[in-house]
Point group: C2
Chain length 425, copies 2
Amino acid sequence: MSIDNRQMWQELGIDLERHDVLLSALLPIYQEIYLSQQNRPEGMGFFDFVVGDIHGIRVRELRQHAIDGGKVVATYCVFVPEEIVLAADAIQVGLCAGTQFSVTIAEKVLPRNTCALIKSSFGFKLGRICPYVQTSHLVVGETTCDGKKKMFEILSEHQPVYVMEVPNKKTESSRQLWLDEVRAFKEVIEKLTGNEITADKLSQATKKVNDRRRALKRLYELRKANPVPISGKDALLVTQVSFYDDVDRATQQINALCDEIEARVSQGIGVFPGNAPKILVSGSPMAIPNWKLHHILETAGAAVVCEETCTGTRLFSELVPETDGNLDEQIKAIADRYMRINCACFTPNEKRLDDIVRLAKEYQVDGVVHYNLQFCHTYANEAVLVERTLDEAGIPLLRIETDYADEDTGQLRTRVDAFLEMIRG
Amino acid sequence: MSIDNRQMWQELGIDLERHDVLLSALLPIYQEIYLSQQNRPEGMGFFDFVVGDIHGIRVRELRQHAIDGGKVVATYCVFVPEEIVLAADAIQVGLCAGTQFSVTIAEKVLPRNTCALIKSSFGFKLGRICPYVQTSHLVVGETTCDGKKKMFEILSEHQPVYVMEVPNKKTESSRQLWLDEVRAFKEVIEKLTGNEITADKLSQATKKVNDRRRALKRLYELRKANPVPISGKDALLVTQVSFYDDVDRATQQINALCDEIEARVSQGIGVFPGNAPKILVSGSPMAIPNWKLHHILETAGAAVVCEETCTGTRLFSELVPETDGNLDEQIKAIADRYMRINCACFTPNEKRLDDIVRLAKEYQVDGVVHYNLQFCHTYANEAVLVERTLDEAGIPLLRIETDYADEDTGQLRTRVDAFLEMIRG
């Protein structure tokens, strides 16, 4: 199997030497951060398996899909409408963007003052260490931040890239622009795949993606239980994997996990001591394998019960209305759904402040940790408003700005300990 | 006069103590950077006077305009259509954003990883040291970068702010969005002023603004002469002052300066030794009193002959077609003109690369210095493409990333000296 993988990676143009370093570093980290956890749901076994073979089976599936004439569309952001990609019998896969290893490669080209997520994703391509991007026929970017918007121009010298324009405001004109962009994207995907997107196909694809959203919603609902039935680290891994696993299999595995967790809840089984402070994490996305903050929080005795992030609620909380209506009505419903995401790229973005307060109450958290990737201007500025809003609501807040490096781990542990101490009173 | 000024500043809510520190620091710097220059055109006397009384006469004019029932609109960016503001008998004034002094004030609120221009402008309001923003009735922001886009949300807690959405791409849909934004801006300004913008008023205002653009074009054309008839520092000051001086007076003064420079050119009078390397500066805007890079370059023996920046060619190189046509045709012509600005906020933005090469040739420069304000993602990423483009064109490039602080001046001088040495061969 491993030999087959190496041959596949070679055929994909992977830098095997570098790639060996990457994988040999990942598995001990996973061992330490994940497998060391006590009393995990058995359903996490599937996700452990996925990470254990992270560049194996799934890449093989994508490659087989390509060999059979299908197309693979790689993305970085929750704004790219997967419904449209699936409706053209293409596969959408979220790209690797969570390792410090690839950051150092990217810094040979990109400005150092760029967020780790952007540098990491670019480094995966530049260093030829990501079989997902190597397998993909088109990278679909968006304009949700300056760093990504301009990085895609440089990336396009290495890989076919198409950029969707996400507007800056949510006015009628901005919504019209986004609707035009979604319509244009449909044509781009039809041209890429040679497949026509019919009302029927789009309606089926929409249901598929909604089913995964419903499964993730179900998982998050279960995290409200006392005692907390699943760790924040495990829940985060589930959303991370759902970005690149087969949509039906992900839905099925998440629901199987939820069945088990429901039983745990009814039996009062938890994974943290009853007095563990409950934390809502809000802010920048955490791409696999970025588990840094969750690991620090949960090894410090906290229980992360919700993420108001693009690798959390922003990924699944809004559904697309399912209609068998005509194609354009469905496209409009899809465009409208994505414009309901309260991303910091929009100005103003007060609804995100409302979301954070609402989630903090719904999940009965003891505090919020605002997570900001260094050099991410939109979330860093919004953190000023988040701080004021939570202060007015009387909800404790810890503002963290960090990257993928380990240098600040000790300092972060100290600040997290002090925060939890303060919460515990 | 000075006593009158102090009373006016007090009435405007200026923090007099802080403001004294600011002004007392500015004048010696101006003495050192500007008045120390040899053989300057006499026409610069007007601009010296403007700086010498920077928060005096002009503020008094704006205040009188307000007392007479007029409105003052403050801006940060070349994308806000001044034609529309003038057509409603309002005055548009570019805001102070070029001092390190106000940066330190802003850092109490804004993320430190924000470009100096944004921090400086915010600090002027937070610290109550800018009589222009104190005099203004509305601040008009835009979405040209993440930092400003989100800063305006925080600024709006201190001052009425309206944000125009500048799109990210230049597709037909994006252009339609911008046209809608310009139309909406017209309504905002009509509501603010209570004055209707008629075709006639807009046509007159367009001519006024075009006349200033033509005067600046004329000044820049004269900078192509050998020997170079005016320093880059002086030319930069002229564009900086044109952001907030009365449009007709600015046009008249720039043209008077050009008359004098034309005579100099015909007499072969220059301000640099004949062998001074000619430099094109390209990149981030330089808000008054940010003269750091030009001073370093010209005291090192270079002659800055052109700026491909928002305080340079991007401010004036495109004219609005002058028609007495109907109002909406004029609005469309205005919207179209602003979409021709090749700002790094757009993706892709290849036309800016073409502009840099074209200007380098037109001005027969010996090298280009790419100026990037630290933490400005759009220009920092575009610098990667600028470097490649100039390398292919065989034009020497020096990439500078800096801020408003003095700490790196020595290091910059060393790098500039090495660059000029290399150019001189």
